[in-house]
Amino acid sequence: MATTTHEPPKIEPPRDPVGQDGGGGGWRNLVPADGTMRDVQQYSPPPASLGVWVGMAAITMSFAAFTSALIVRQGASPDWRHFTLPSILYFDTLVLLASSVTLELGRRRVAAFMGGLRSQAAPPAKWLYITLFLGLIFVAGQYVAWLQLKSQGLYLATNPSSSFFYVLTAAHALHVLGGLGGLVRVIRKLGKSVLRRSTLDATSYYWHFMDVLWLYLLLLLWSKM
């Protein structure tokens, strides 16, 4: 019977502090002005780590803009109608929080596997699949929330409050779908043994950020709707 053995994923090479032909400057690279290279700190954080923070900053700005628009619009006219949030949102919140826990479990196991601390032959992708599943449930749950709102007669253009509800939840769901795409990429790279630790970490940071963003949005919607 044929058996398949997975190679452990490639690990980033260790950083050599005194190498001559590599790059690796970066924001912690401090070189004396007289040109002496002796004290160079040859460390540069992987761009994926910084990139995801920069991306999260841009997303934060966008949702800050949506929030200020909501506050201004609510105050602009007395036509703001309050309504009860669809109950499934609370279930969705639990699902998303759980997905962050499962992702963290998966990230730690994969990190340990990549570091050679775990002896198993196959990469531990189970928790990543569970996270993916929970993420899909969350998005489906948001769709159900829209259906529940629709059944109350609240459509996108019915009232500014419902408009903002649809816009904010849809914008967030779109970003969650982006995170799901990132997770699929991580699982695929893990299967091919080409996953970088920085990619895994960046994806998990993004996913946790989606959690925090959703909690903020839920609070905003709960207080304004």
């Binding site: 032909d21 400057g25 002005a33 996108l156």
Partner: protein, 593 residues
Amino acid sequence: MHDMSAHAAQHHAPTSFIRKYIFSLDHKVIGKQYYGLALIAVYIGMAISWLMRFHLAWTNARIPGLQWLSSVGAPGGLMTPEYYLELMTMHGTIMVFFVLTTAPFAGFGNFFLPIQVGAEDMPFPRFNMMSFWITFVAFCVLMSAFFVGDGPPLSGWTAYAPLSAVGAIAGPGQGTGQVLWAISIALFCVGQLLGSLNFITTTLDLRTKGMTLMRMPLTVWAWFITSCMGLTAFAVLLPACILLILDHVAGTSFFIASGLVINDKMLPHSGGSTLLWQHLFWFFGHPEVYIAIVPGVGIVSHVLITNMRRPLLSHKVMIGCMGALAFLSYMVYGHHMFVSGMNPFSGLVFSFPTLVITIPATIIVLIWIFSLYGSKLRINSASLFALGFISMFVSGGVSGFFLAQPSLDIYLHATYFVVGHFHMVMAVAALFGIFTGTYFWFPKMTGHMMNESLGKLHFWLTFVGTYAIFMPFHYLGMAGNVRRYQAFVDDYMQPLLGVHKFITIAALLTGAAQLIFLYNLIHSRFRGAPAPPNPWEATSLEWTMPSPPPFDNFGGKHPVVYHDPYQYGIEGSSNDYVMQDSPEQIHTVRDEK
């Protein structure tokens, strides 16, 4: 060791035409693509301005062939008032977004930022490629507005609500054309966000060994600061455009007030805030002014230093001032809304930082002037345009003092004074920055030298021409000439018609001078003398490699940087300069501790 190539430039040199020139991952090709897009856009924008100027001077004259562009907007070649406004909207949108943002920031920045910090490429080359192609699609979507039934929108590049939000009932172009405009700008925002992400991570993460923050050339600092602005500003405009699109296609009421009657019809919307659009737009819009101009500040500084053969009075202060411009740009946006109905106290709050922002701008100019004083400036096309940039920046900036004061702005708002101000300080100054960069970096980008005589001719015609066009705008504004009028038939404006005719003739001639530049660009690309690796005897890393640079920039190696970027006038050296990657010891240490 930490292998930078593991993060950047994982792609190998492409062999197929499509991967090499179309969907390229190479930052240099993407930079050229951005530049090419800006070049197409600027000539379209200029041609539109010709049509507008001709119509303003000779309102009842027919423009032969214009009916082919729009049979409704210009029946028989005679421009309708609505079509004038449509052309004005397209001119502003094309120029601000697809020229002034695209060329100095995305074009030159893509090509030179990774090289100047010693990297092989951007860290996310696929995002970089997507950034360009999304921008290209955005441009095509905008251009398609010319060909839809009711034509392009007429609400101006600022697309003020409710005019921009109510749909076709507001006039030609306000239906499909306005939606296309909003989609185009939303796409443009996405493209610029991806680009900014790459610029920031490249600057912070991919600098080569020895390239400390203070050793980065001023161009890199300018692009980095601009990308920080782009990241925050475009992230706000994007949601604004989404809400605008929803007001159009989904019947929401974000920006449309209740009880609005247009063309005898009551609109079904309720309670929207028209000021909300202005707040969201100008939160982007004012930083956008600096997104257009800060790269020019960096380019001009870089070029002047090279031609002065000495560094600026203070590298650090220049960086600090560019950063201060960026920071303050977020606090001044309300000065665009002095007469919009805001609380008068808000006007005062926005007026103060507007006056404060002139401090870093003035320091920048003083650093340039005092650095130039006593220097033996090498006069070439690039340095001439750099001087022209300073001239435009000062001339346009001075009129900003007046507009920064709410009491004066009440009179001057929406007049040609404002048009003259922003055309000089933002548009023409930024264009001069683009020309400076083009004449300076063309040899590196293409491997050919540009014709210097034609370059100098281009400079003088453009310099004199732009002053002839835009200085009289200030006079017109003070005389009460309102902007966005398609004809001047009121009694008090009749005497100003002669000035308008003068401006139109100047615009036609100055525009024609740009054909000299185009000829020089194309001719030099194919017939220009071969460019040596370092024709200007410059010190930064792009001049350490052949012209044009090879695919992997540094031949698979990583340069080591020993000096700050502007080691000129070095006594005892074999030349009067020391390149950044030269291990040569310098006795006259210029590094700022």
